[in-house]
Amino acid sequence: MIDIRRARINLEAVVDSVRRDDAGAFVLFVGSVRSDEGVRALDYEVYRPMAMKSFADLVERAKEKFGIREMSIVHRLGRVAVGGDSVAIACASVHRAEAFAACAWVMDEVKRIVPIWKTEVAGRKDRARRLR
């Protein structure tokens, strides 16, 4: 499952999407919008066709690099309030070590190369700040 969506992420559905009988380990990484002073939400902007292509490439590279069996990546678009989930990555593998490693590697790559930008949505007293 590769998806970029405005609606909330169904974490159970993301895990179910990678389930298979020949995998004994499933790792789910969830990134959420953290409470910081003056911040009430993050706005995510996505170059969708390139981001979808990047996610698909990352899944294939993760399979080759770590030997994992399956991987799903779901990312939010638009406004995500504090406490909301902005990204979920699920990975299935025969043993847990490669699933943990693949999830961590893919999340780092998402932050490094996938065309997604976020802007802080400030409370009333504060101004919006673009994040890098």
Binding site: R34, A51, V87, K111, P115, L131
Partner: protein, 83 residues
């Protein structure tokens, strides 16, 4: 020929538009197109060193020769996922 040029995040705010249609001669390179865009929007010029370029949804080198109907994207440094 016509090239579609797309802008995101801070670049979109500088240009004041998500996309524009750019008129170009045949054989124009990506670098020449970017030079033209930067000349029209000088506030973008300071971002050139960190600007990533894509053609038709894939990262492209500045020597890429553009073709009719190509979609060029000027991408600021990305910041997806979590902090």
């Amino acid at each position: 020929m016509r090239i579609q040029v797309r802008f995101f995040a801070g670049y979109r705010e500088i240009v004041g538009s998500r996309a524009l249609s750019w008129s170009a001669r045949e054989g124009l390179t990506l670098e020449e197109l970017v030079d033209g865009v930067l000349a029209k929007y000088p506030r973008l010029a300071g971002h050139r060193a960190t600007m990533l370029l894509a053609v038709n949804h894939s990262v492209a080198g500045s020597d890429r020769v553009l073709r009719e109907g190509d979609e060029v994207a000027l991408l600021p440094p990305v910041s997806g996922g979590v902090r």
